[in-house]
């Protein structure tokens, strides 16, 4: 396998984690990863270097954006099967953070996950989202405020530290 394909393959676990947190449903998440991989493999010749990692996150993030736009007018419904028969304590906490994430608009959720879960730098996230670093930081601040509030069960308020 070529070096390019090896670096793509090495990213699959992280992409699956990011996609799961972004899309929530396990099947949808793996669909996103699969789509990302297919596109990446097809573009091997076009990829003239740079960071494979950031590039893959960019493809996945954009695919999810497109997916959500297509779904924008669809009615929502609740899947019957959610979670697994696990210990109640950690599972409940897991659902809390999941629910908190669901309250975020897409750009904020992506920034929060890319920084806090995937450990990317602000610069990398700015490149992935195609925005200035300042925008990444304001999305991150809002995302953290909303998630904190959701976890605490109150309405968020953003303080400006001067």
């Amino acid at each position: 396998m070529s070096a390019f394909r090896q670096s793509v393959e090495a990213m699959i676990p992280a992409l699956r984690r990011y996609a799961r947190a972004l899309a929530r449903d396990a099947d949808v998440a793996d669909d996103l990863v699969q789509d990302t991989l297919v596109r990446a493999l097809r573009s091997e010749r076009l990829f003239i270097g740079g960071d494979v990692r950031s590039w893959l996150y960019t493809i996945l993030t954009n695919l999810n954006k497109n997916r959500r736009r297509s779904l924008a007018r669809r009615p929502q419904f609740m899947p019957l099967l959610e979670g697994n028969p696990d210990a109640s304590g950690t599972e409940a906490e897991g659902r809390d953070i999941e629910r908190a994430l669901a309250t975020l608009v897409e750009e904020q959720r992506a920034v929060l996950l890319l920084v806090m879960l995937e450990g990317l730098s602000y610069r990398e996230v700015a490149d992935i989202q195609g925005v200035p670093i300042g925008t990444v930081m304001s999305r991150l601040a809002r995302a953290r405020a909303h998630v904190k509030a959701a976890l605490e069960g109150v309405r968020p308020s953003l303080r400006r530290v001067k």
Binding site: A14, R16, N66, P75, F77, L80, R99, R144, K148
Partner: protein, 259 residues
């Protein structure tokens, strides 16, 4: 330490937690946090948040990679792997009388493929009971039917030949799908059993074949080269699988434009 009199900004608090702060400023931020308990509380909350995220999601990164994501497989033009794992995905949902759906703020949205599977099932149920007008263009005008649907939909619409499984083409119609026009074909067996084949533009390039059941109707659905397919029938899952496989094999043979 830089000048500790320069107040610490909101951005710096975030940067501090994310290891994006220039080293010389860290001391200033720590001194600030020692004297500003509200900010210290928020910084701590962000740290706890990170732990919660990792606790919930790191396990996914530690799972063995599912076979569907195997790179060798994804590179291959042959799609035998679609048969390898027909995963059951049963979606149950409560339909309020007349309202149709129950909106739930924090619920996960269905995938696009699942969305138009539900549409396809609705269309199936609506039209299979029709005696006089089940289709718009009859199967006797197969060539015209295929040309018309191909032109309206934008991908190659072919009516598969299902005689091997005892089904003949009743005909087809055009439907409004969630992503644009959708093609809809109906087949019938001598006993009166009816199957429908619905195709619409999908966002996924290719997915596994999955099964969905609601009430007494079942559907097998998959995406292939950017087109979603839904084969709907009765509750006999084995029979449905047999028909769906034949539909899939037939689509394999046709040359898709743009694929």
């Amino acid at each position: 330490m830089t000048d500790p009199k320069i107040p610490v900004t909101e951005d710096e608090l975030h940067a501090y937690v994310d290891n994006e702060l220039p080293g010389e400023r860290r001391g200033d931020v720590e001194a600030w946090l020692a004297t500003h308990p509200e900010d210290a509380e928020r910084v701590q909350a962000w740290r706890t948040m990170a732990e919660a995220l990792h606790a919930r999601y790191d396990a996914v990164a530690n799972e063995p990679v599912p076979r569907r994501l195997d790179l060798e497989r994804l590179m291959q033009p042959a799609r035998k792997w679609l048969y390898g794992a027909i995963a059951a995905s049963v979606l149950s949902f409560v339909a309020g009388s007349g309202a149709g759906w129950i909106a739930h703020g924090a619920a996960a949205k269905p995938s696009l493929l699942q969305s138009f599977t539900l549409e396809a099932l609705d269309a199936h149920r609506l039209y299979v009971v029709e005696v006089r007008h089940p289709v718009e263009v009859p199967g006797s005008e197969r060539v015209h039917l295929q040309q018309w649907l191909t032109k309206r939909c934008g991908w190659d619409v072919r009516a598969p030949e299902l005689g091997a499984t005892g089904l003949k083409l009743v005909g087809g119609r055009l439907l409004p799908g969630p992503t644009g026009p959708a093609s809809f074909l109906m087949y019938e067996g001598p006993s009166g059993e009816r199957f429908t084949v619905y195709t619409a533009k999908a966002s996924a390039e290719a997915t596994q074949m999955r099964y969905l059941a609601k009430d007494n109707v079942g559907a097998m659905f998959w995406a292939d080269r950017g087109v979603g397919y839904v084969v709907s029938g009765g509750s006999d899952r084995e029979r449905l699988t047999q028909v769906a496989r034949l539909v899939y094999e037939q689509s394999d043979k046709s040359d898709m434009s743009g694929g």
